[in-house]
């Protein structure tokens, strides 16, 4: 399975979590993990457990908040939501990521010397 799925680059999971929260509003860890899996079309290799390291890191940096709440089917769960700082960080990181992928795209589509 390792070959067919994408390994996550350092820091990308944090960005995905931020974006998920921005799009979905307050959500618990399981919900975030499921959402990322769905959006990525099961293309990335994600142990759901690793999401919690990302969540606590973002929380301690002050970018997301956390609160225990009750889920739709009456279950206790910890809900995460984006803070104002997190919104700014998301804008910054997203812009950076787009620029980088843009550049990467251009570099990788560079024609070979023989074709020039």
């Amino acid at each position: 399975m390792g070959e067919s799925k994408l390994d996550l680059l350092q820091g990308t999971l944090d960005l995905m979590v931020l974006q998920t929260l921005a799009a979905m509003g307050a959500l618990h860890g399981y919900g975030i993990a499921r959402r990322i899996e769905q959006i990525s079309g099961d293309e990335i290799l994600l142990n759901q457990g690793t999401i919690y390291a990302s969540l606590v890191r973002l929380q301690q940096r002050g970018w997301i908040g956390a609160e225990w709440g009750t889920s739709d089917n009456n279950r206790k769960a910890k809900y995460y939501s984006l803070t104002e700082g997190g919104r700014k960080q998301l804008a910054k990181d997203a812009a950076y990521w787009l620029r980088l992928s843009n550049v990467m795209g251009r570099v990788l589509s560079m024609p070979k010397e023989a074709e020039l």
Partner: protein, 882 residues
């Protein structure tokens, strides 16, 4: 990257570990339940739903670990875990821990103690403000003792006025001995020690009284009101630290002195200027109108102006000093002064630098041996724990983690050792600081201070890395599977392990060898010093300072004769005599010239002068080589009598009979009536100088003290009361001076060498012990490992003796290799201590032979126990075991 908010949160999380972990557990549980529910809704069986949920989640423990990493202070967490684990493992292995901590404590403790001494004597500046500006000024040729080191009061004052590079020049009277003042109060007069200092002495040093004030300028003038400043210990001892004593008077030798100030506790005159001496109070020297006639008596100390170098000041002194006057009333006499400027710190402890560095190296070597020893112990232990580590590795511990764990264990051990060592060092240092009998400067100031604590921590950490690294490296390198398999049936461990341990032992033996040889050379030097013919016989003689001064020579003669007659009547007293100065204590010097020889400065060395009574030579055990002793009627005013030592006789009248010759002494004529053997007047190691002895009854030679020397087979303590009784009978004001064996003066003079020899020898002994321990450990371990092999050999017919010899030969091989390396190193290193040796060559074959023999013997003894054990192995038991 550094987010302050995150850093704060990480620290907070670190301390809220239990809550945060519980929170995470609940979150993960909720996560899994939601996943299971969703899976079940998709139609999976409960078991399958659970299984898939767990698969998608990944490792629960690893997720938790990652969470903790992202949340708290991981390295601190690990450290705490490791420390906790270390305590547990070390607590389980009490015997090992005890030995290891003890060895470390000895090594580290010795290092702390020596560091404290080195720090105080060499590294730390003197306890004065801007002490680097302070300079001791003395004459170029100190051959004549203190007299040729000092200057007259006129010369000192002239220099004070003429110098442009010194802020201040001050001095103290260099010729006052202990117990030179009587404190008269209630009860018997008390002997105390007073010192004359120039009025600006304390301001120059930058010492401020804690109570009262400095001496004023008026108080340093002739006929001014007598004043004094008290040292802190004296103030505390004598006056119970009563502050109201300032302004009151004390009676010194019958004169009322007003106490104007109390000196701070940090000021210890003796510690800096006169090792071992305790000065109780200070009195301003009356430089003008009083001291001009005293000759060269002031020892000079100056404070350079900021930015002035020693070389500049020396250049100035070279031009100024030759022009200074000995006595301004007689400008034609000429001072012919010279000056050498030495930084006060260098003057105080410069001579000791080399000894201290040697001492420092010796304890450094001890520490190295300790490290090697510990390394060895840990290697053996690590080998025994191989399976434990393999197990932990198999359970997922990384190699780095295990190495870290091992280093933490070393650190815990070494910190425990450092703590115990600190206690030992504290005891040793406290003891040393109270040894007045050791003539080392600043010794009283030695203490464990912040620097020593920092040093302790530094060496504790360095030590732990040094001895912990080898075993940790070993573990890191070890193959997991080999380790798990190892320790199986008699496999023992690989040869490489054994070789490493052998190399450690060899280096340990080599280090011990170097220490032993160095200590041996110093010890032999010390024995040679003790063997020196001093020219007098210290055993069975004791001396006491007599409170007596009589300027009239006739009255003086009568009095002295009476004292001696009465003393000699005391049962047990063989002979008694009186001199104004004793060998190996204070001295002064004049000049002696053959009569008719024109005086030319510097042609003949200054000559130590002693004014003595008849019988003094006998009582101190000096040998009259030729001629006769003094008589009580050697008191001719115009033609004096003199007894010279062999050196003077040889130089002044070479090849002739000196008896009956005429000499010029103190401006008058004197006839030589005798020759005595040379006396080592300063210490046993320096060559005897020129010495002459004058009659105490002659009016032209004034004695400057009165010491009664008594020769008796009885111990001084049992005579003391009788002697004191006689002295009190003759002079009721005689103060309770100590009746001291002459040997004490001799011991005091050699005490620095004794101090270093004792320490270095102790360290060498310790090194030897540790090396023996190392050998024992390795041999004993190899015997244990090879129990089965030995059992098989014995079963195949090897005799006990063969096994025994086999083990011992291994010991011998290790020892010989170590000793060979050590000897080679010693040959190089001993050259560097050549200057510390006395009548001993650095390659002294006898010392080398004895020390190597000693090392070999001890090593064989260390190997003997395991060898005996090996030879007693019962083949049946050995083979059945395991």
């Amino acid at each position: 990257m550094l987010n302050p908010k995150e850093a704060m949160n990480r620290i907070r999380s670190f301390f809220q570990k239990p809550q945060r972990d519980a929170d995470l557990d609940a979150e993960i549980a909720a996560h899994l339940e939601m996943a299971i529910e969703e899976n079940r809704q998709r139609g999976l069986t409960p078991n399958e739903a659970r299984r898939q949920a767990l698969v998608r989640f990944g490792g629960v423990e690893s997720a938790k670990e990652k969470h903790r990493e992202a949340r708290g202070l991981m390295s601190l967490d690990i450290l705490l875990q490791d420390v906790k684990y270390s305590f547990r493992t070390l607590g389980r292995d009490r015997g090992f821990t005890f030995v290891a901590v003890l060895i470390l404590a000895l090594g580290i403790g010795a290092n702390i103690a020596v560091f404290s001494v080195v720090n105080t004597l060499l590294l730390r500046p003197l306890p004065f403000n801007n002490s680097r500006q302070l300079v001791r000024i003395h004459q170029k040729n100190p051959k004549g003792g203190e007299s040729s080191m000092t200057y007259s009061s006129d010369a000192m004052q002239e220099f004070q006025h003429q110098t442009r590079l010194f802020q201040q020049v001050t001095g103290y009277f260099a010729f006052s001995g202990p117990a030179n003042v009587k404190l008269i109060g209630k009860g018997q007069p008390q002997p105390i020690t007073g010192l004359l200092v120039a009025g600006n002495f304390f301001p120059t040093l930058g010492v401020e009284p804690i109570l009262g004030r400095q001496f004023s300028t008026e108080e340093c003038l002739k006929n001014s009101r007598p004043v004094t400043m008290l040292s802190y210990p004296f103030w505390k001892r004598q006056f119970g630290a009563n502050p109201s004593i300032v302004g009151q008077t004390v009676d010194l030798d019958g004169t009322q002195y007003t106490v104007v100030g109390i000196l701070p506790q940090t000021f210890d005159f003796g510690a800096v200027f006169s090792p071992g001496a305790k000065v109780d109070l200070f009195i301003p020297a009356i430089l003008s109108g009083d001291m001009e006639d005293w000759g060269n008596t002031m020892a000079l100390v100056g404070r350079l102006k900021p930015g002035v170098t020693l070389a500049q000041a020396q250049a100035e002194a070279d031009t100024l000093f030759p022009r200074l006057h000995f006595d301004l009333k007689h400008p034609d006499w000429g001072g012919d002064y010279t000056a050498i400027l030495v930084g006060l710190k260098d003057y105080v402890s410069g001579k000791l630098r080399q000894s201290l560095v040697v001492l420092w190296c010796a304890v450094g070597m001890i520490l190295l041996i300790v490290c090697v020893n510990l390394s060895n112990l840990l290697l053996a232990r690590a080998a025994a724990r191989g399976k434990e580590f393999a197990m932990r590795t198999a359970l997922g511990a990384s190699r780095g983690r295990i190495v870290r764990q091992l280093l933490t264990e070393s650190l815990v051990l070494s910190l425990a050792g450092a703590l115990l060592g600190l206690l030992m060092a504290f005891a040793v240092v406290t003891w040393l600081a109270h040894q007045n009998s050791i003539a080392l400067p600043l010794l009283a100031n030695v203490r464990i201070d912040g620097a020593a604590l920092a040093w302790t921590l530094l060496i504790a950490i360095a030590t732990s890395v040094l001895f912990g690294l080898a075993p940790a490296y070993n573990v890191a390198r070890d193959n997991l599977q080999a380790a798990l398999k190892d320790g199986g049936l008699g496999a023992g461990e690989g040869r490489s392990h054994n070789r490493r341990r052998s190399i450690l032992v060899i280096s340990e033996v080599a280090l011990a060898c170097v220490l032993l040889v160095g200590a041996g050379l110093l010890l032999r030097s010390f024995l040679r010093v003790l063997d020196v013919d001093l020219g007098f016989e210290p055993s069975n003689a004791a001396a006491i300072r007599v409170d007596f001064y009589e300027s009239d020579s006739v009255k003086r003669g009568v009095m002295l004769q009476r004292i001696l007659q009465r003393i000699e009547q005391i049962p047990g007293v063989e002979t008694a005599g009186i001199s104004d100065n004793l060998p190996m204590s204070l001295n002064r010097s004049w000049n002696i010239l053959p009569k008719g020889h024109p005086y030319r400065k510097g042609e003949f060395p200054d000559t130590f002068v002693y004014v003595v009574t008849p019988g003094y030579f006998n009582s101190i055990g000096m040998r009259l080589v030729k001629g006769r002793d003094f008589h009580w009627d050697d008191n001719d005013k115009t033609l004096g009598t003199v007894i010279v030592n062999e050196t003077v006789a040889k130089y002044l009248w070479p090849g002739e009979d000196p008896i009956g010759r005429l000499a010029t002494i103190a401006g008058g004529d004197a006839r030589v009536i005798g020759v005595v053997a040379d006396v080592h007047e300063t210490n046993a190691e320096t060559v005897a100088g020129w010495q002459m002895y004058l009659s105490a009854t002659a009016p032209q030679y004034g004695p400057n003290g009165t010491y009664l020397v008594v020769r008796s087979k009885l111990p001084p303590a049992s005579l003391a009361s009788g002697v004191m009784g006689v002295l009190r009978e003759i002079n009721p004001d005689q103060s309770a001076n100590e009746f001291r064996p002459i040997q004490m003066f001799v011991d005091h003079a050699s005490s620095p060498r004794r101090f270093f020899v004792i320490l270095v020898t102790a360290f060498a002994g310790l090194g030897l012990l540790l090396a023996a321990l190392g050998i024992y450990g390795v041999i004993s371990y190899s015997v244990t490992q090879r129990t089965q092999e030995i059992g098989i050999r014995m079963a195949l017919g090897a005799t006990m003796e063969q096994v025994w010899r086999d083990v011992l030969s291994k010991t011998l091989r290790l020892t010989l290799m170590g000793a060979a390396a050590g000897t080679a190193a010693s040959l190089v290193i001993s050259r560097t201590i050549a200057a510390l040796l006395f009548n001993t060559t650095p390659t002294d074959p006898f010392t080398f032979a004895v020390m190597i023999l000693l090392l070999g013997t001890v090593a064989l003894m260390a190997g003997y126990l395991p060898a005996r054990r090996a030879s007693r192995i019962n083949p049946m038991v050995a083979l059945r075991n395991n």
